[in-house]
C-alpha cells in the first residue's frame, strides 16, 4: 500500500517507511545512538526533499530522545545543570542553523552543504571511533595495561564564567559547554541529526564529563534542540511532515527495543567498532556521490 506524504509531496510504500523506521530504530537501540545520521540521508535517497527530510527527522528525534532520556533519568544519569547550559547553547545554535538552512536552500547549495557536513563529520567521528575500538580490543587482549589520565588540564580551563557541575564532578567555564552545544546545534539543524554522535565524544574528551552521565545529559538537551528545530522549520518553511514522522516513529519504537536487547549480548568495544564501520560506510557513500561525474550535469527543482 502506498502512502502519499502530504508535506513531502511524494508517495512511498508504507512498508518501506515503517521498515526504514524499524531498521534505523534497531541500529539506534543496538548502538545507543539517535540514528538521525542514517535516517536523514536514507530519506533523501528515497526521494524525500532534503528540507523535508531534515525537518521531519528533527521531529522524530524528539520522540526517540524523550523515550531514551526517561531510562537515564530513572537511574539518575542526567546532569540537569550541565544539560541546561548545553540546551541554551543548542537552542541558540540550532536557531542560527535553521536560518542558515533557509539561506543555503535559496542559493541552491543546501544539498552540497548537507553532503559535505556528513562526509566531514561522519569521516572524523567514524575514523576516531574505529581507531579507539581497535585499540580497546587490542588492550583487552593484553591484561595489565594501564588506563590513561581521565582528562588533562589545558587553556580551556582558564576561561571565565566558571560554574560547578556537581553531578559531572566538574568546575569549568560555562562558555565551554555553551559553545560546544551551539556548534552542534547548527549542525543538527542543517544535517537533520540530534548531534549525539558529536556531542557525546566531545562531552567525554573535551569537557571531561564522566561517561555515566554523558548519554543521559546529551539526550536531555537533544530533546530541546530538535523541538526547537521542529517548531522553527514548521513556521519558516512548513517542511515538517507529520505523517512521515509518525510512521517512522512507529517503526523506530519497536526496532529500538529489539536493538537494545541484541546490544546487551554484544561487547562494548565490538559494538563501537561495528558502529564506526557503519558511520564510515555512510560517509564513503556520500563522498562517492560528490566525486563521481553525475549522469546529467543539470538538475531541476520545482520550488512552488
Amino acid at each position: 500500500m502506498y502512502i502519499y506524504l502530504p508535506i513531502a509531496e511524494v508517495s512511498l510504500h508504507i512498508a518501506v517507511v515503517i521498515g526504514l523506521g524499524g531498521g534505523v530504530g534497531f541500529l539506534s537501540g543496538l548502538f545507543g545512538v539517535g540514528g538521525g545520521f542514517l535516517m536523514t540521508p536514507l530519506l533523501i535517497f528515497l526521494g524525500v526533499p532534503s528540507a523535508v527530510a531534515v525537518a521531519t527527522e528533527a521531529n522524530q528525534i524528539v520522540a526517540s530522545s524523550v523515550s531514551g532520556v526517561l531510562a537515564h533519568w530513572r537511574r539518575g544519569n542526567v546532569d540537569f545543570k550541565m544539560g541546561g547550559v548545553l540546551l541554551a547553547g543548542g537552542v541558540f545554535g540550532s536557531t542560527l542553523g535553521v536560518f542558515l538552512f533557509a539561506l543555503l536552500q535559496k542559493i541552491g547549495q543546501i544539498d552540497l552543504v548537507i553532503k559535505l557536513s556528513y562526509v566531514v563529520f561522519l569521516g572524523i567521528i567514524g575514523g576516531l571511533m574505529l581507531m579507539e575500538s581497535i585499540r580497546a580490543i587490542l588492550r583487552a587482549r593484553q591484561p595489565g595495561a594501564k588506563r590513561g589520565k581521565l582528562h588533562q588540564h589545558n587553556f580551556l580551563h582558564g576561561l571565565p564564567f566558571k560554574m560547578r557541575f556537581r553531578k559531572s564532578k566538574l568546575y569549568i567555564s560555562a562558555l565551554l559547554p555553551f559553545t560546544l552545544a551551539a556548534f552542534v546545534g547548527i549542525l543538527s539543524a542543517i544535517m537533520g541529526v540530534g548531534g549525539g554522535f558529536i556531542l557525546v565524544p566531545a562531552m567525554i574528551y573535551v569537557l571531561g564529563m564522566p561517561t555515566s552521565v554523558v548519554v543521559g545529559t546529551s539526550l536531555f538537551q537533544i530533546i530541546f534542540v530538535t523541538a526547537n528545530v521542529t517548531i522553527l522549520q514548521s513556521v519558516q518553511t512548513q517542511t515538517v511532515d507529520f505523517l512521515l514522522a509518525g510512521l517512522l516513529l512507529l517503526g523506530a519504537v519497536v526496532g529500538a527495543q529489539f536493538g537494545t536487547r541484541v546490544g546487551a549480548l554484544l561487547r562494548g568495544e565490538q559494538l563501537r567498532g561495528l558502529l564506526a564501520l557503519m558511520v564510515l560506510a555512510v560517509c564513503l557513500k556520500l563522498a562517492f556521490d560528490l566525486v563521481i561525474t553525475p549522469s546529467d550535469l543539470y538538475s531541476v527543482e520545482i520550488m512552488k
Partner: protein, 249 residues
Amino acid sequence: MRLMRFILTVAAMMSWQSVQAENVLVADVSRDNVAITTDFHGTNLLLFGAVNGEEADDILVIVSGPEGEVATRRKERIGGIWINTDAVIWKNAPSYYQIFTNAPLDDIASDETRRQLQIGYRHLPLRTKATNLPDKEVNGPWRDALARTLSQAELWDVKENAVSLMAGALFRVSVPLPKNIRPGDYQVRVLHMREGRLLAEQGSTISVAKSGIGALIYRFAHDYSIFYGLFAVLFAVASGWLAAVAFRR
C-alpha cells in the same frame, strides 16, 4: 454517467452536423477532478472525443499543469567535487507538460506552426529571473535541460502516436498523472489539425487537489504553522514517553 452525457453530446452533434458542415470538435475526460488521497500513487485519465474530420487528420492533445517557480542548476567540478554553479530560475514553468499525438509531431505541424500555436516546450512563453547567462544559452541548453530533467521525473513528455484516432472521427488517449504531480488546475488543449493547419481547438480544465487527512495536515501546516509545530513536538514527546512506558521492563 459521464459516458452517457458524452454519447448524447455526440448524437446531438451528429444531427446538428447534417444541417451545418462546420468543423466540430468535442472532447471530455474520464474525471475532471482528481483527488490526491493518502493512498495516491499516480493515476491515468482517459481523454476521449469526436471530431467530424477526415481519415488523414491529426489530433494533438496538450495537458499542462500548475505553473510556478522551477530552478534548473548546472554542476561544475571544483576541487574534485561537483558543485552547483550556475542556475536559471524559471518563473512560470508548468510543473506538468505532456503532448500526445496520433502521428509524429513533425508530420502534424511545422516548426513555425508549432511556434504560433505554442506547441512544445521550445515554444512555451517562459520567463526567467534575472540571470547573467546569455539569452541564447538560457533558451538553448538550459531550456533543453529543463525539459530533459522534468521528463526524467515523468512530468514532461511528448508521446507521439499515443492518441488513437479512428476513421478521423473518434479519438482517445490515456493521460498519465504520475505520483509526484502538483495539486492545482491542469489545462487540457485538444487541437484538430489538417495538413499542418489548425481546424479547431477545444479547451478544458482538470483540477487536482489533495483530499482527506493529507489535505488536512497540509492546510494545518500552512495556515497554523506555529500550532502545527507545537503539536508535532507534543505528539513526539507523548509517543516517546508512551514507548518508554510500554516497553519498560
